[in-house]
Amino acid sequence: MSFDDFLQAFFSLEILQQAWPILWAGLLNTLLLSVVVVPLGFLGGLILALLGTVHSRWVRWPLIAWVDLFRSLPPLVLLVFVYAGLPFAGLEVTALTAVAIGFFLNTGAYYGEILRAGIESVPRGQVEAARCTGLTAAQAMAHVVLPQAVRNVLPDLISNTLEVVKLTSIASVVALPELLFQARQAQSVTYNATPIMAAAVIYFILLWPVVRLLSRLENRQMAGRR
């Protein structure tokens, strides 16, 4: 195979031009999907983390079981279960609903663990001091504990968010027309790998700055652990 053939197979401008509208639509859907599932997962995690502050074993143990359950199931398994399984229970779900449910359960568990660690990292004295000044428990949580908790685990939160955005690519399995799905469509029509290569390049351009930022934060975090 000559170099020209290789270029033609993976970096064909002509194919890219043809496929661009399809890829663009996919990119927009990927962004849209991220904007939906990231806050959804974060919300789920926040609920779990707040429940984790309740000192009752009737809350604590079911909570740990819930989190470990959804951390044990691979996200794709959860998604397929929701999408292909629920119709048998008489519940027709659209691809988007299935993705939303799957991400809420899966990424919620991860965000929950991170936020729990964050809340635990805030010294008890902070809550006590806040309560002494007359804040209610809810106010102390919202205005004193959570802001510090989020700051303490910011690298982990960003890292998880990066993973969630990458994970939106599994929505292609349930035929949601996001970037990877569109690229596969274009590839199967053109018999050319350029669209998938283009999708990879788009993901890289989009997420590389986040990876750089994380790499810096993580190095600093590890150095601080000595």
Binding site: R71, L76, V80, G85, Q187, I196, M222
Partner: protein, 226 residues
């Protein structure tokens, strides 16, 4: 038939379960095989890259950083698609197993390198200097003094990352590997009953629940007092 009976008949159908259990068990072993291959290759390659990076050869380090960033930014499913659907265009056909193995190994390699590198740089410079001044060479200093301290620091993040990437083996079902999810989906489409999916979910829980709980333990066991 009440709704409850219908639900049981769909998701916990004993006849279907008996028929597809052998397939799921085959898939179970295949998942373990794939995961083992990924962990071996990924961790070894990642550690090798981190060691290479500590040599401090500038051009080489840029190349390593780029490769690591690349595989941290790309969604694993996109890499699998590129290898499985794209490479044939270059006259190179990989089996689904090989494509999934290579893709996930590269991703694990990237994260492992990053984690080990952070660990190595977190070992104080004085450790290097003290070891060198006792007459140890670069290699001895690195393997006997620096690496053992680095490894201890990196065990919790490395364990968690390895678990997360190992769960990515479910993505192999997209490229027709009959691991747990692949076998379960095939079972659903043959039997028109979601019980194989239930079995698959249980199989994943059997496999990953102990690992997730182990991860929790590792995190507290190796936690560094801050």
């Amino acid at each position: 038939m009440t709704n409850w009976d219908r639900f049981l008949d769909s998701f916990f159908n004993a006849r279907v379960a008996a028929e597809y259990l052998p397939k799921i068990i085959e898939g179970f072993w295949l998942t373990i095989l794939l995961a083992a291959c990924i962990i071996l290759a990924g961790v070894a390659a990642g550690l090798a890259l981190a060691v290479l990076r500590s040599l401090g050869i500038r051009v080489l380090n840029w190349a390593i950083i780029f490769v690591v960033d690349l595989f941290r930014a790309l969604p694993p499913l996109v890499i699998i698609a590129l290898l499985y659907f794209g490479l044939p265009a270059a006259g190179l056909s990989l089996s689904g197993f090989a494509a999934a193995w290579l893709a996930l190994s590269l991703v694990l390699m990237a994260f492992t390198e990053e984690i080990f590198w952070a660990g190595i740089t977190a070992v104080p410079k004085g450790q290097w200097e003290a070891a060198r001044s006792t007459g140890l060479g670069f290699l001895d200093t690195f393997t006997l003094v620096v690496l053992p301290q680095a490894v201890r620091m990196v065990i919790p993040p490395l364990t968690n990352r390895t678990i997360a990437i190992t769960k990515g083996t479910a993505l192999a079902s997209v490229v027709a590997v009959q691991e747990i999810l692949g076998a379960a989906q095939a079972g659903v489409s043959f039997s028109f009953n979601p019980t194989p999916l239930t079995l698959g979910a249980v199989a994943y829980l059997v496999l990953f629940l102990p690992v997730v709980i182990l991860g929790r333990w590792v995190e507290t066991r190796f936690a560094w007092k801050r």
